[in-house]
Subunit: 615 residues, 2 copies
């Protein structure tokens, strides 16, 4: 499009943003208006995208990091003839695909859910990384950011990662409209302040007037022709541009325009331009390499193996069988054992250094491109990326997360390194799967099984060695459990997972020697939970004792209760969990001090059974 047409298109996007928000009675038109010219030029002259084939491997990828500017995005979809004008006016209404913040669950052209600021650029880095190192189909990644969100540390994790990986297929476009939600940003219209920061991190920078369509056009061209480094275009804009009553004024964030009709008239009235978006380059569809059948590692019963080791070995094997499997490390691959994968498949291994938000975002970006990512760090440090996990679930992203060094069982390193909240965090994520194996064969099977599930899948592994108790051919369906001890005279069921399974077995032996028969359930699938087995155990043994190396809230004990929250009779239950603040001590001392070792289980079991008798 030529200059005049681009100007008209920008005005159309503004008008449609105003109309959408007016119809909704809410939304962010002023944040859309500042970026309208940036979007118009991108759509008309630079983006290569087939809206009828969003999966086209040559498609450029666009991410609206400032997700609240969704009216602008939907206005662009209308201009590209991807949606009708009527649908545009369903914005923010019940059942509409056009949500307040865009999500790929609803719209095929959205790469990742945004709305939590500072996440679009990191995910864009993940997509660009896939483009550069895996897909190699020549697509570009364009990310439209707000200026306020540059305060998020995650943006600088992304900046560091992108420059380090020389992602010249990535362009960040920053809509510097100087106004945040509650007032001016730190740097206002000082484009140089942002440029200095990006340059220091290794980016190519371009500073422009974000309402000069020719300057924007040149900047996009410069970004596309820059090699060896990512480009950021810093565009000086005005929030609410084009409508005097709101332009560059405070206190108007996230509000429809007060006089929509007048504003539309001031913008020159509605238009109905349609943009012919450039076709993507011809490219082969993503070729999913399957080198062969899966040969998981196997372990002999009685052998002592840490589940983190089994994870590493299984992941390496999975990588051999499936070319779409990738691994991502938070600079602890020697601890989590993703280093085993790195050695065998260096081309599909991504070092994210100590930047857990970028670790997650890279995984989300790769999943958006069809890969099956496994991202691993200490369970404790996955809390650093909680908001990214939350947003990934809103995206419907299929990612595998692995947290090692679970619980007090790690020993001397102390509480800062202990994952004691991770089960609660991952269980509360919509549609998640939470797995917690206790031996090496079980771990290997679960590592393979999780690859093909939907949504967020979490595997919790342990630092220390534990004896192999299952044969290599045993099946471990997700949503299942294993009854490890059972008899007709069981008076109690102990439900455990991971390290406490071994403690529970020892306690069951001790109690049996006293004449108390105990059922032991290995609840390796913490979510979904095996309601059938738990309900049967409750019926047959009368009471339950849960034991977990996790804080008492939101973990295994609560997962067990999930099986009984539909109004049916609930068994009596005692929950053993970590209720104190641990210090440094040996692993066995830790389990003992926390009251989750064999001694504590046996003692609680005696009490519970005793009470059952008295009652």
């Amino acid at each position: 499009m030529n200059t005049a047409e681009l100007v008209e298109l920008g005005q159309q996007l503004r008008v449609d943003s105003v109309r959408a928000a007016a119809a909704a009675g809410s939304g962010h038109p002023t944040s859309s208006m500042s970026a309208a010219d940036l979007m118009a030029v991108l759509l008309a002259n630079h983006l290569r995208y087939d809206f009828e084939r969003p999966d086209h491997p040559g498609n450029d990828r666009f991410v609206l990091s400032k997700g609240h500017a969704s009216p602008l995005l939907y206005a662009a979809y209308k201009a590209a003839d991807a949606i009708e004008d009527g649908e545009l006016l369903t914005f923010r209404k019940l059942g509409s695909r056009l949500e307040g913040h865009p999500t790929p669950r609803r719209l095929p052209w959205v790469e990742t859910a945004t709305g939590s600021l500072g996440q679009g650029l990191p995910v864009g880095v993940g997509i660009a990384l896939a483009g550069k190192r895996l897909d190699r189909t020549g697509y570009r990644v364009w990310v439209l950011c707000g200026d306020s969100e540059l305060a998020e540390g995650s943006v600088w994790e992304a900046a560091e990662h992108a420059a380090y990986e020389h992602l010249d297929n990535l362009t960040a476009i920053v809509d510097v409209n100087r106004l945040g939600q509650r007032g001016p940003t730190r740097h206002g219209h000082d484009l140089d302040a942002y440029a200095r920061r990006f340059q220091a991190f290794g980016w190519h920078t371009v500073e422009i007037d974000g309402h000069d369509v020719d300057a924007i056009d040149r900047a996009y061209g410069e970004a596309a022709s820059t090699t060896g480094q990512p480009t950021v275009i810093l565009a000086r804009t005005l929030k609410g541009k084009g409508v005097a009553a709101v332009q560059d004024r405070e206190g108007l964030h996230g509000k429809p325009l007060p006089e929509a009709e007048e504003a539309i008239a001031e913008l020159g009235g509605p238009r109905d331009l349609t943009v012919r978006v450039q076709e993507p380059q011809a490219a082969r569809m993503l070729h999913v390499v399957r080198d062969g059948s899966l040969e998981l590692p196997t372990y002999d019963r009685g052998e002592k193996v840490a589940t983190r080791n089994a994870f590493g070995e299984a992941l390496a094997a999975l990588g051999t069988a499936r070319g779409e499997v990738v691994a991502l490390d938070g600079e602890v691959g020697d601890s989590t054992r993703t280093e085993y994968f790195a050695k065998e498949h260096p081309d599909r291994f991504f070092e994210c250094y100590i930047a857990e938000q970028q670790l997650l975002a890279s995984a989300v970006g790769m999943a958006a491109r069809g890969y099956v990512p496994y991202a691993a760090t200490f369970a404790a440090f996955l809390t650093r990326a909680h908001d990214f996990v939350r947003m990934a679930s809103i995206s419907g992203s299929g990612i595998n997360l692995v947290g090692s060094h679970a619980g007090v069982a790690i020993g001397q390193d102390g509480p800062s390194q202990m994952g004691l909240e991770d089960l609660a965090m991952f269980r509360a994520v919509y549609g998640s799967t939470v797995l917690y194996p206790c031996d090496a064969n079980q771990t290997a099977r679960l590592v393979a099984a999780m690859a093909d599930l939907d949504g967020i899948r979490y595997l919790r592994t342990s630092r220390g060695e534990s004896p192999v108790i299952y044969g290599p051919d045993e099946d471990f369906p997700v949503g299942g459990s294993k009854v490890l001890r059972s008899s007709g005279e069981d008076r109690l069921t102990v439900v455990a997972a991971g390290v406490t399974v071994h403690e529970a077995l020892a306690a069951a032996d001790a109690l049996e020697s006293e004449g108390i028969r105990v059922r032991v359930v290995d609840l390796y699938s913490v979510k979904p939970v095996d309601t059938e087995t738990l309900r049967r155990a409750a019926e047959e043994t009368g009471c339950l004792l849960t034991v977990e190396d996790h804080h008492e809230e939101g973990g295994l004990g609560d997962a067990v209760l999930d099986a009984f929250t539909d109004g049916r009779p609930v068994p009596r239950l005692v929950r053993l969990a970590v209720r104190t603040m641990p210090g440094s001590a040996a692993p066995d001392e830790q389990l003992h001090a926390a009251g989750i070792d064999r001694t504590a289980i046996a003692a609680a079991g005696r009490l519970l059974v005793g009470e059952a008798v008295v009652r």
Copy 2:
């Protein structure tokens, strides 16, 4: 100390680090050895600190951001005569104060728990901010960082915040030993790479050889005399410095030295130097201003007020009564209503922009200085700071966190803005308090009550208006609940909190008109939970129905079950919670779609009571 003495002191710190790790059989001596000269010069010539009076208001503050280098810290304590050599050798043993990573729970000289990398500098910024804007006793804040942790985005949130606030009382010392846990860092010994980044963010930078004690001495002097901006000292060091077998070698992170005796000999053998650390400047003890008695806002029954508004008004009133109360905003103060506090107490209001990790860290830093911080953002975005909350609980930090815009009840903005995991996250934090008020008077009382609790206190507020149902003189003890409907013929108890209280009351009215009497409990204290009332309700009404605007895992329903996990009989229970992925819709449509509105409660109530009869 002169050059020769400083060199000797550095060697002593190395020897003692090696000895401590050897005695423990674990720990991070090589990461301690690289920073030993940096620590020696600081301790001997620059730090002003009274180890016998850690609360001295003039004391400098030292933060070991690279918390795994704890042997170095403890060796310094020994050199300062704060601990005995015998205690040094208890490192990482059960019951020792000298944990694997330092915590203020155990040691009076530790400002904040570290061990999750990238957190020490942000907390140091919080302390320096208190020093600059509140205490004004002239102390300096020294933060010793690792180079690996500079990959964390939180470090750049801190860098931005410190420069913007002109914190010239803050010095970051970066031990650039070029080796992370699993291998080389991104930038190795390229000090300029780090300098460019810090300079771009507005810091004064100094690059030195971190083993040249005179250069270190000069650098600290330069930092102390720099005005208007914080200083970072980038020190080129060698991991394992001084012992040829480990120096600058990979694969030796977090391991005791293989041949400790030989290493100690190579370092010149044990020494027993004692440092006379400089006295702090004379300073008044922190003056806690109490301007007057607390006059909380009050609201009339039937008035419609959003609990977020009541929070804002109560916080402003609390600030008037208590000078040690401070408020921190994540650039959404107009939404959370911390803006009310800002207007009345601008000197104690801290804008942290969109950087939730720094928001939390600032609160932790201020709490360390004796202030009572309230940090607020959307409940959803507090997940961004989960790891900081976790570490704050390890510190034993007393902070108030307020999450607004809870649940699907926010309406059109959609899932990215909805706090649906926050109760699970905060309940699982050790020693936390979780409060969730349903009306304005209750909110005001809880805002005041939480100020004086221990540990992490979380208040969940709602966006929309709700009717005031309590009088202004009603008491709301933490750990309590309110029975809002009760009779001798109750056949069911509905337990609700926040927005669902009003739905529960409407459902109870509907059911009563059908002849079904229902007890309604307002569980405003989600943790600790009112076990007595819940147990009585279970006994008297037979079954419980919980209803919450939160995912089903880890929230209100699980909190209710906490009252029954000690082996006593458990009532039948049905849990209504958000089980779907919401989209955009009006608030009432959202509650209906999620199945947590009055209609859903009444329907579930009928079912549960019906079953009770059948049974």
